[in-house]
């Protein structure tokens, strides 16, 4: 009885929905330079205009086409979001599982390092770094991952601690399984849904942090992202413009999160066959 994760996702309705959403998002982002009707960086005097035939989502405060910015923003937000999400979750998982499986001093020190990093005010570190490093997408991913992995590490460690006492793992240990084997073959699959939560959490957080950093001024001013679009729109919320300026990036982000969640939901039968919907061979 081999459960094929790809088939599970493809054939569940939520899985299909999730894939469609994400594929559309990614396609729009990738094809942005081709589909976008206007140059998203081109400023013009036609500011704060409502949606029209030529500008589907209207114009922002410096006369830039919002729809084009939404498309280009997808590139930045998705790259930064997914990149940071993946890297932060990876580091957090490695740290958390290793801390739980390897006892003694290593664990104690690792935990205190994690605690310290959680406490260190991220804002100051970023301000310091920004004076010396240029904020491009890659550096942003690295910095944000460095600042985000700790939370997941703690959670994963906690859950691993309770998992490792389970019967089948104790059995594997008696068979002489190495810790790496146990981690890879037993813990990670069991933790699957929790790792997904960590991933989604990190993606979301990365996108918001990027907006927060832009607010402080620590960003490439020529980079457009959903987060910065929302933040810019916020300053003009006393006008009606928020309807077509604030809402679309919010919805875009919301759809991305939902897409990821649905895919995760469809993958759940992998760990628990009883979850499978009836009717799949």
């Amino acid at each position: 009885m081999h459960i094929n994760i790809k088939r599970e996702i493809r054939e569940s309705s939520t899985g299909k929905a999730g894939i469609i959403i994400l594929v559309i998002m990614i396609m729009l982002a990738l094809l942005a330079p081709l589909i976008a009707p206007c140059n998203p960086y081109h400023q013009s005097p036609m500011s704060l205009l409502p949606p029209s035939f030529s500008h589907w989502l209207g114009m922002n405060h410096v006369g830039q086409d919002i729809w084009s910015r939404l498309l280009y923003g997808a590139r930045t937000s998705l790259m930064v979001g997914f990149g940071t999400g993946a890297l932060a979750t990876l580091i957090g998982t490695a740290a958390g599982i290793s801390a739980a499986l390897i006892d003694g001093l290593y664990e104690r020190i690792m935990m205190r390092v994690i605690d310290t990093l959680i406490i260190i005010p991220m804002i100051i570190v970023v301000i310091l770094l920004s004076a010396y490093i240029r904020p491009g997408v890659i550096t942003l991913i690295l910095i944000l991952s460095f600042l985000s992995w700790q939370g997941g590490a703690r959670v994963i460690r906690a859950q691993t601690l309770s998992l490792k006492e389970k019967g089948h793992i104790a059995a594997a240990r008696t068979f002489g399984a190495s810790r790496l084997y146990i981690a890879w073959r037993h813990i990670v699959p069991d933790l699957g849904p929790i790792l997904l939560v960590d991933f989604i959490y990190n993606v979301r957080r990365a996108i918001f942090l990027e907006a927060g950093l832009a607010f402080l001024g620590i960003s490439d001013p020529n980079m457009v992202s959903w987060g910065t679009m929302m933040r810019d729109a916020l300053s003009y919320s006393y006008l009606d413009a928020w309807r077509w300026w604030l809402i679309p990036p919010g919805i875009a982000l919301s759809l991305t999160i939902v897409g990821l969640t649905f895919i995760g939901h469809a993958a759940e039968p992998v760990i628990e066959p009883r979850f499978r919907e009836v009717g799949i061979a």
């Binding site: 400023q43 005097p45 500011s47 920004s130 001024g217 960003s219 001013p221 003009y236 006393y238």
Partner: protein, 526 residues
């Protein structure tokens, strides 16, 4: 039964109505002409500006304003110009380089003590040891109380804007309270807010950023128009809604909402241009050390278009002489560097640059400049970047955290920067921002003539001669162009009309562009 009741009423009615009407006619109404408004609420986005005592309010315009409701100055200004305040008259004695002030005799401190010349003399002596952050304490050399109601201030050197910058800004503090205060920055008891002004402090709350003032009914000029003035913190986005809804009587509003505010029945007023955004240049470094290069940049940036796009038309294109076109000091012959990319290119070619592909280069090196600014100016920075790129200069534009930008500019670790400052009402600002120290200033001292003109205008007591000097300064400054003024923004306030708010002539005190002059809140007896 009803009929009888009605009858009784009909009989009673005339007996009640007529006396009532008579009463209304005969009994005096509230004192003629006074609208006793109970409460006036002013919105502010930041809220907290410190305890409103001279040494504890924060160093920002609204901080001074909140203190100025309580503490007064020798002279003051209203919308037309100088008016008497604590001093009813004054005279400049050129021979002694001193100002003689005759003080009013009917002024009392809010704790009942009489105000005398000793308080004035004491104040200026006190500032020698404890400088008041808004007044240069070295200007007044010593203060001499001639008798109880006249005081002579001896200046260390002639100072043209003395009346506004010193006499009209220095808050006078009571000797009997402050003579024992050794640490004024930490003096925050109730005694620290005893002034002579029309309002007393009833409450100050740091966390909520709110202030409550009560009327001082013993005020010597007239009766305060409102019983209470409240300052409350409202976010910038919500201020228009709060004004419309009536929970706030006055507040500053973004230009885009002006029409809607007027439609809603509010009065909208606009400040004379007070603030400018500048392109600061590192003129110590190649290629910006070359005057013609800086001029080329000026020709390359279409400042009219900059206002159209980044300010949505709510502003005025910058004059390279820094002083705004609406100012009485503006020199109409100041070179304007009207948008002319062809001239810009010609200047660059004169300097040995030639177009190689997209960009100019010299000696194999592409012409490249770094532009930094804080997040607030990212749109302006982007505009400048585009203009210069279109010209053929490669621009590397970055935004940084605000104080990091300041630090870099201070340390001359930059090429170009977008920055802004106010204070443009009085030419006394010019030395500070042209030759002065600090990142706020162009720190340009290479032009000896300009340097001496800047110093001379401060001490030229004849207004007309001073005007000529300021005219020349603008021409020389615009010629050398160590920094380029990009635009002046328009600022607006909206209010409900119950108080006639006005913009003080040349700003409150030494140039604060806010329509919150304490005289607006007083019923001035003719």
């Amino acid at each position: 039964m009803r009929k009888i009741a009605n009858k009784k009423f009909l009989n009673l009615a005339p007996k009640l109505i007529i006396p009532a009407i008579l009463a209304l006619i005969i009994l005096p109404s509230c004192s003629a002409g006074t609208r006793e408004i109970n409460s006036y609420t002013i919105a502010d986005t930041i809220g907290d500006y410190g305890y409103p005592s001279p040494y504890t309010h924060y160093s920002r315009g609204p901080g001074y304003i909140r203190m100025s409701l309580i503490f007064e100055t020798l002279g003051w200004k209203d919308e037309t110009g100088f008016v008497p305040q604590l001093a009813r008259d004054w005279e400049y004695i050129p021979g002694e380089n001193a100002y003689l002030f005759w003080l009013r005799r009917d002024v009392k401190w809010q704790d009942g003590t009489k105000f005398t010349a000793d308080d004035v003399a004491f104040t200026f002596e006190y500032t020698r040891e404890h400088p008041y952050q808004w007044v240069d304490s070295s200007i007044v050399q010593y203060a001499e109380a001639l008798d109880d109601y006249s005081v002579k201030l001896h200046l260390s050197k002639p100072y043209a804007p003395f009346l506004q910058d010193v006499a009209g800004t220095q808050p006078i503090i009571p000797e009997h309270i402050w003579q024992d205060v050794g640490n004024p920055e930490q003096f925050t008891s109730g005694k620290a807010v005893i002034g002579t002004g029309p309002y007393k402090l009833a409450d100050y709350n740091k966390e909520h950023g709110s202030y409550l003032y009560g009327a001082n009914h013993d005020y010597y000029i007239g009766e305060p128009s409102v019983n209470e003035i409240k300052f409350i913190k409202v976010s910038a986005e919500m201020t228009p809604a709060a004004l419309k809804g009536g929970s706030v009587s006055a507040g500053d509003i973004p230009p885009e909402i002006v029409a809607e505010m007027e439609d809603a029945g509010l009065t909208v007023i606009t400040a004379p241009l007070a603030w400018n955004a500048k392109l600061t240049m590192n003129h110590l470094k190649e290629p910006l050390s070359e005057k013609r290069f800086r001029q080329a940049l000026a020709y390359a940036i279409d400042r009219e278009s900059l206002v159209e796009i980044t300010q949505r038309g709510h502003g005025v294109a910058g004059s390279p002489g820094m002083i705004p076109p609406t100012s009485e000091w503006f020199n109409p012959d100041t070179p304007q560097y009207d948008y002319d990319p062809a001239t810009a290119r010609a200047l660059l070619e004169e300097l040995g640059y030639s177009m190689e592909g997209e960009y100019f280069s010299k000696g194999g090196n592409t012409l490249e400049l770094e532009l930094i600014s804080e997040a607030e100016y990212k749109d302006v920075g982007h505009f400048v970047e585009q203009e210069l790129e279109n010209l053929g200069i490669k621009v590397d534009f970055r935004t940084l955290e605000a104080k990091t930008v300041d630090a870099k500019v201070e340390a001359w670790d930059f090429d170009l920067s977008v920055y802004g400052h106010g204070g443009l009402y009085e030419p006394s600002i010019l030395p500070r921002v042209i030759t002065g120290e600090g990142f706020n200033s162009a720190r340009y001292t290479a032009n000896e003539t300009l340097n001496s003109l800047l110093e001379a205008q401060l001490t030229e007591m004849d207004a007309e001669k001073r005007g000529e000097l300021v005219y020349q300064i603008q021409e020389l400054y615009a010629e050398d162009l160590p920094a380029l003024t990009l635009y002046y923004p328009n600022w607006y306030w909206a209010h409900d009309g119950t108080i006639n708010l006005f913009y003080t002539s040349n700003g409150v005190a030494l140039g604060i562009p806010l329509p919150l002059n304490r005289l607006a809140f007083v019923e001035i007896e003719p």
